[in-house]
Each structure stands twice: as C-alpha cells, then as structure tokens.
Symmetry: C2
Subunit: 265 residues, 2 copies
C-alpha cells in the first residue's frame, strides 16, 4: 500500500549528490541537466530504483520541481517518464493541490494527463465541484480531493461544523455525488488515524491517499486498522522518512530499508 | 484599477498568431521558442504593450503555461521578465491557487518570489494558515487568498454557515489575524458584487482582487460602488474580455480598447 513521495529537496540530499550540481551536467532522455535539477534527476533515479519493489505508487510533489523554474519542470517530466518506462505497473500521482474554475481546471487536466503521463492529481476543493469535473472526463485517471489534510493548520477550516457535519465530510459527500470510486480518491491525513473508521462508514468504496505517516507522526499500523476496506482501499504515503532515511552515501539502500519496513507493517 | 489576466489560450488566438507555431521559432531573452509557446510569447508581448497604459497589474494564469510542460514555464518566465523590464511600475500576480503544508508552501514561495519575480500569488486556503505563512516572510510581496470565487460552484462550500458566519468570512478573518493589509489581499468574485459592501464592513483595509468582470458576467461599476475603500482597495481583473476582444489581425488594438473601456468605467 506504500506510496513514496518524491519531495526531492536539494538541501536535504547527501553531500555527494549535492556535489553533482557542480559537474558539467548530463543528458537524460534527450534533455540536458545541470545544476540542482541535475542532482534531482540522479537522486530520483536512485530512490525510484531502490524503492520500486516495495511500493505501489510514486508521488512527485510539484513544488519541489517548479522551484527550479522550467528546468525543474523538465526534471519532473523526465522523472515521470522514467517511472512509466521502467515500472509500468506503478501508479504515478501529481501532488499539485490544484483547484480553479472550469476552463482553468481543463488546462490543468491536460497538463497532468496529456502532456505528462500522471495517473492522478491532488485537488484542493475550496472552489467547488468545478475544480474536478474536467479531470473526471479522462478515462482511467483519478482525481484525489484533499478532504482532511495532515498538517497542523488543517483544523483551521476542515473541522468547521457546516450544516451539522464537518466541512471535510461535506466536501467528500459533494465530490462523491459527482464521481465514482473509479475516478475519485480522497486525501485523509494519517495524523487523524482514529477518525478513519468514522470516515469509512460514509465512504466505504473510495481509495484514500494517506499522507502524514513517518515525518509528520502518523502510524501506518493505525491507518491500516481503521482505514482499510475489503479491497485494501489505501495508498499510504511516506516522503521524507523514506527518501531522506540517510544523508550519506547509502541513501538509496537506506530508502529501500525504510520503504520495506513501512510496506511490511 | 484594471488587471489584465494573461490566460493566453492558444486555441482562442487569432489565426495569424496561431500560424507562428509552425514557423522556425524565435529567440527571446536568451531562450528559444517554437510551437505553441512561440505563439504565446508573441501574443503576450503584443497584449502587454497594448494594454499596459490602461492597467495597474498583469495576472498570468499558471494553467495556461504549465499545459506546455517545461517550454510553457519558460514562456511564463520570459513573460514576467518582459513586464518587469518594460513596465517596472506594474504589479505582477501569479494566478496559481497554490495551497499546501508549510514545507511545500515554502518551496512555492521561493518559486514565485525568488526564481520568478512575481509580486503576489493567489492561494487556495483549504489547508489553513500554514498555506500562506511562508509567503508572508517575503518583504514587499503579497499573498492573495481566495475567499469568494467567481465561478458557479463557489457556492458548493464557500457559503456554508460555520459558527454563525459563512465559510469565506471565517477564512478572511483567520487570514487577517496572521497578516496585515501590506502582505495580504483577498479574491472576491465580482459576480457577487452586491455582497462587497458587507465584506468591506469587516475587512476595510485589504485590497480585493476581483475576477469575474467581463466574460464571467460581473459589472465593474458595481464592484467600484460596493467594494472601494478610501485608498481604492481594488484590483479588478478582466482576462478573456480583454485579451480575446478580437480574434482578428487587430487583436492588440481591440484589447487596448477593451482595457481602456474597462479602466474608465
């Protein structure tokens, strides 16, 4: 059930990977990389190869690629191509938290599903159903709506009592009314694992993408206990606890260990 | 008070601008452009030069650049540089609707304020105050939080009664409590112009970015009547109604006319 989050932050990489940013650069899949994006490419390739045996999905976080401008987006494109070519059975999630009006959402859908070959995109639901409808038109692709996030300030708005139910439940029920479990999943933060059982009652069939395991403090055991359904129904994400398990030369084997450990809980 | 939204959709461009996508390409500011991003560059340059005399801000919509992958992001970077170099007094807004946990938000802040030279970024607030805090650390830059959007499905969640107040008001009050009018603005949709007066009562000092004028049906006159404060306090956005005012050879002069007309209401 493990998803490895590719929040590939240059500042947290091992020194010998950081040092690659100073070399002459490399050509990968027809594109040339130098500087920090060159380190990102090398880091991602090693992490992907090391952890692929233990996971069902990879989830690049767009922020960690866009921060290098167009060169970063090129590194993302190459990363997605690398996963698709070498591990065709794995699911690839764009952690983008997009959410905009219909004509803009349609462009984002094209970006992530046509231009890049992602299987799913995370969506922030504040602007309503229009934010997801254009994505749902793509056969075999998924929207993953943020319902209950794993961060501290999730409670600022997501637990508001709205018409007798918390906001996050209203969001889920509205999104469920315009979609099916074959094109809609939900982000449900693992730091609230105890609430998962209650959420499964009104949402029995959709997959949950569960962040917050590992660095953010959630327990994978609790998530499985409270959040599973008959088909599994869970994608449990770990980012920093896997990809930065070691900051030494052994970072890839340490990531494999951390992934294997999480996958076997 | 006019902001021109650079939602530069290739499919809506005049035929002679579309045709540039088939030429050999051009070098602009050290980058080479061909295909659709080449048309986007030519279109933006003409629209910017034609409308700059009538506006206070430009607002590129990220979706219309990311849809070409890294080449699109390069077109965005060149567009921002072009505005900054030629019209240094104009305000540049990244319409990105980002909103993620703290460490991710910090990377987005770096992207839009350090890597690219935007003055402000739109933020989707569902995940709470953490989504904006890293942006607020940049002196002289602004977060523009989506409070009340202009789309049809805005009413799905934004008007929920939460603790006696609509969700959008809770969002605004929470964001106001951690910021100042010198680093926080709000998106307030113009299709709800009648509500602007009530919003001004509890939020007298912050600027409002008002979309929904023009193609989405809102009236600029109503927005000014109900939404102004003593300093003006408004940035009124028009995208499609200005940049696609004509689909002919005269598209730039037509855009200037539309911008001038909106600016003089």
């Amino acid at each position: 059930m493990l998803c490895v989050g590719l929040d590939s932050d240059f500042d947290k990489m091992p020194p010998h990977v950081k040092a690659m940013a100073d070399d002459a650069g490399i050509a990968v899949r027809g594109e040339f990389f130098k500087g920090k994006p060159r380190s990102v490419i090398a880091f991602n390739k090693a992490i992907i190869d090391a952890t692929a045996p233990f996971c069902i999905a990879f989830k690049p976080n767009l922020a960690f690629y866009e921060c290098y401008g167009n060169a970063g987006l090129k590194a993302l494109e190459v990363t997605v191509d690398y996963i698709r070519s070498n591990y065709p059975d794995l699911f690839i999630i764009a952690d983008a938290k997009r959410g905009d009006i219909g004509n803009t959402a349609a462009m984002y859908a094209r970006t992530f599903f046509d231009v890049m070959d992602f299987d799913a995109v995370t969506i922030s639901p504040y602007m309503g159903t229009e934010t997801v409808l254009p994505f749902l038109e793509y056969e075999g692709k998924f929207v993953i709506t943020v319902a209950l996030s794993s961060n501290t300030s999730a409670s600022d708005f997501q637990f508001f009592n709205c018409d007798g139910k918390p906001l996050y439940r209203n969001v889920m029920e509205k999104m469920m009314s315009i979609s099916t479990p074959d094109n809609m999943m939900f982000v449900i933060g693992a730091t609230k694992a105890g609430q998962l059982a209650g959420i499964r009652e009104f949402c029995p069939d959709n997959f949950f993408l569960v962040p917050g395991v590992g660095a953010q403090g959630g327990s994978a055991g609790d998530v499985i206990k409270y959040g599973s359904n008959s088909m599994g129904g869970l994608i449990i994400n770990s980012s920093r606890a896997v990809i930065f398990a070691s900051h030494g030369e052994d970072y890839a084997t340490a990531a494999a260990s951390a992934a294997s450990h999480t996958a076997n809980i």
